[in-house]
Each structure stands twice: as structure tokens, then as C-alpha cells.
């Protein structure tokens, strides 16, 4: 009885993890700019990884390996949003403008806007060298 319940809980957790990771993958592939992609990567992917790792911890039972899985879960819960924050902050400091619903810029334009900023930085740096 309790084993059946446990197997059912494992299956539900794995399917939930797969669903949220699918949402995250769709968002990273389809959303318009780096900030919205960072948002879906930090939220949906963290939740998907959390569900899948919880399923693994439930399957391993009480023991050292299960504690390691829980440690991994907490580590991913803390570091994944931090990494996404660092990435989008780097994007902001490089001068990438956020996409809004009323502008017609494509991916290509956003890339060229960031290129101009980057080239400007390199050019002034190179200008100071001689």
C-alpha cells in the first residue's frame, strides 16, 4: 500500500518536473529578448529541476545518497536564480534595451544594438592605447 503510494508520488513528481522543464525550454526558445528568457529560465527551470530531484530523493529513501539529493535541490534553488540575475544584469550593463510590446525590433536589431555598444567600448579602449 505505502509502496504503491510512493511509486505514484514518484511518477507524479517526475511528470511535473518534465512539464515545467518543457515550459522553460519553450520560453528560452520562443520569447523575444534576453530578459524574458532569463525570467523563464530562472523560474520554470528551477521548479522543474526541483520536482525531478524530489522524485529522485523519494526513490532513494532515507540515507546518505538521499541527503545528497536534497542538498543538490537546495543548491539549485539558490544558485539558478542568482545566475540568471547575474546574466541579465550583465546584459543591462552592456546596454541591451528590454523588448516591449509596442516596438517592432526583431532579434537581429537587438543584436546589432548590443554590437554598437560593444564596438564603442573596444574602440575607445583601442584609441587610448597608442
Amino acid at each position: 500500500m505505502i509502496e504503491t503510494l510512493r511509486v505514484g508520488a514518484i511518477i507524479v513528481l517526475v511528470v511535473l518536473g518534465l512539464f515545467f522543464t518543457f515550459v522553460s525550454a519553450t520560453g528560452v526558445l520562443r520569447l523575444p529578448d534576453v530578459y524574458s528568457r532569463a525570467h523563464t529560465a530562472s523560474q520554470a527551470d528551477t521548479l522543474g529541476a526541483g520536482f525531478a530531484l524530489a522524485a529522485v530523493a523519494l526513490a532513494l529513501g532515507f540515507g546518505t545518497t538521499s541527503y545528497k539529493t536534497v542538498l543538490l535541490l537546495f543548491f539549485i534553488f539558490i544558485t539558478n536564480p542568482t545566475a540568471a540575475h547575474a546574466i541579465s544584469r550583465a546584459a543591462d550593463e552592456q546596454g541591451i534595451e528590454p523588448w516591449t510590446t509596442d516596438d517592432d525590433r526583431t532579434d537581429r536589431d537587438l543584436y546589432e544594438a548590443s554590437e554598437v555598444e560593444t564596438d564603442g567600448g573596444v574602440a575607445t579602449n583601442g584609441g587610448e592605447q597608442p
Partner: protein, 98 residues
Amino acid sequence: MPVAFITGDLVTDVFLGAAALFMLLAIAMFYRAIKGPTTQDRVLAVNVLGTNTVVILALLGAGLGEPSLLDIALVYALLNFLMAVAISKFTVERGGVL
């Protein structure tokens, strides 16, 4: 020693099948990592791919009954986080590496 390590066929199949599907989702991230358009997009895609790799390693460790894969997953998660933060800092200070 784990108290009750489930070794039923059903649970093993679920873990291995989920690992295969997670791998498909991880491979889909290569599209964003290659196409870009900005450096931060690539770093973000590789970061998501690394998180998926950690989950795949944990699922394989449970599905194949090899708990040592969890140690590899732990080290991989650490290196993944370090990579994202280091490249973010590097791109801001030097103005783009890719």
C-alpha cells in the same frame, strides 16, 4: 546504506524515460546557444543546459542504481553556477568575449 531502495521495473523505466526526455529538452537549448543573438543569450542557454544535465545525472543515478552519479551531479551544479557568474562578470569588464 539506503533503507528502501526501490528497484521495481516501473520506477526504473520512469526514471530512464524521463532522463531521455530531459536530454531532448537539453539538446533543444543548443538552438539558442548557437543562434544567439547576444552573448548573454548564449550563457543563459548553456546555464539551462547545465541544470538539465544535473537533473539527467540524478535521474540516471536513481534509474541505474548508481548513487555515485549524484556526486558528479553536485560538482557539475557547482561548476555550472561558477561558469555563469564568471562569464557574466567577464563580459561586463572586457566588453564581450564571443
